[in-house]
């Protein structure tokens, strides 16, 4: 199942050291390690969770993160708290 392709994922291969952390933490196998570097192989599966960027030891990855939740975005647009639908443990 695919959603609209995320457009904010960036990998700077000049900084990348090919450690494999991004491939390890990504829940959608967006990255592959083709030594000595990582490579984005499936942008269309990226959900912009930010796990890769947060854990890259050399900060070679950037992505705009947030919760892909229409309810929260609509709330915020209406001047609300922007709190996502799962104000508690609803999503899981």
């Amino acid at each position: 199942m695919l959603y609209l392709t995320a457009k904010t994922l960036r990998l700077d291969t000049t900084i990348c050291i090919g450690c494999g952390t991004c491939a390890e933490v990504c829940p959608h196998a967006v990255f592959e390690i083709v030594k000595p570097k990582a490579r984005i192989v499936a942008t269309e599966r990226c959900m912009e969770c930010g796990a890769c960027a947060r854990n890259c030891p050399v900060k070679a990855i950037a992505v705009k993160t947030g919760v892909g939740c229409a309810t929260g975005l609509i709330n915020r647009a209406l001047g609300g708290s922007g709190e996502c639908c799962c104000e508690q443990a609803g999503c899981g």
Partner: protein, 354 residues
Amino acid sequence: MTEGCCGGAPAIRPWVPPPGFILGQHQTPVGMVSCLSTAWTRRDYLGALAMRLGIGRDGYRVDPGLYAIGVPQTDAPVLVTANYKLTLDHLRRALVGRSVWLLVLETAGINVWCAAGKGTFCTQELLDRIGVVRLDKVVTHRRLILPQLGAVGVSAPAVARAGPWRVHWGPLRAIDLPAYLDAGCIATPTMRRMLFPWFDRLVLTPIELRQQARTAFILAGVMAVLMLLIADLPTWTSRWPIAVAIPLTAWLAGCLLGPICLPLLPGRAFSVKGALLGLVVAAAWACVADTVMMLVAIVLIMSVATSYFFLHFTGCTTFTNVTGVERELRLALPVQGVVLLIGLVLWSLALAKG
């Protein structure tokens, strides 16, 4: 437990472990910790059901801190998790026959993935909690096993810079933990891939239905009132259930049928998937339309309402991205608004003619 900091907020009730949750106390070099059962009681099953129905979610948490499963010694693995009781229940049930330490972080009773996204399952809370429970005195190693989804909030490099502790990323799902541990903390690719099978989608539907219920009933009210004001009395008396049933059918389609049939719905945008589903469901209502105008009104209203309700499911999936949802909303919401308006105008005109 923390008190409300702003005066008016009520204090969180002290957590009382339910019967059967704690088996006893386990000795550690820094004192006793509670040893958790790996079995679910009837209360745990009812609690899981309540969570899926959205009942009592706020209080379904445990105290953060260190717990034992089995008889862990100073070399036993340390598994880190959130203090949402349902998370903990799934975790301990997967550890039957094992001896491990559980380090439970304070995430305000929210599951790992959501808490990581919100910033409560984070590097600082992890480091603080390690200090509070004096983990360095409890185990001789310095390895922490975190759920993979915790990577959204915890930075393994930052943990490494702050001290001797090293983060190892465990599998996505608790049920894969035994295999992961037996393999020497090695995960297979399957353990690292997030899927969204039909059962995982199904359990989200009660809460979806609840969250969209108000909008659905308001729309039903609007359509019923329009019929009351415009149509003659015999029409109103015999056909008002249709005015109510159309939006409620869209509600069921968008919040129940849509999630279940997600892989079958064409298109990538959820508003499109929902609209197509609404179109199909509208075919079932075609028979109640006695004029072409009424038929078009029903088709438009059903499609746009289903589209709107299904759009909200984006927040429950495991694969939607935030910039994509923003792009979708910018186009979908205005279009839905216009189409709904046209639909209601046609509805009114059709009632006036008939």
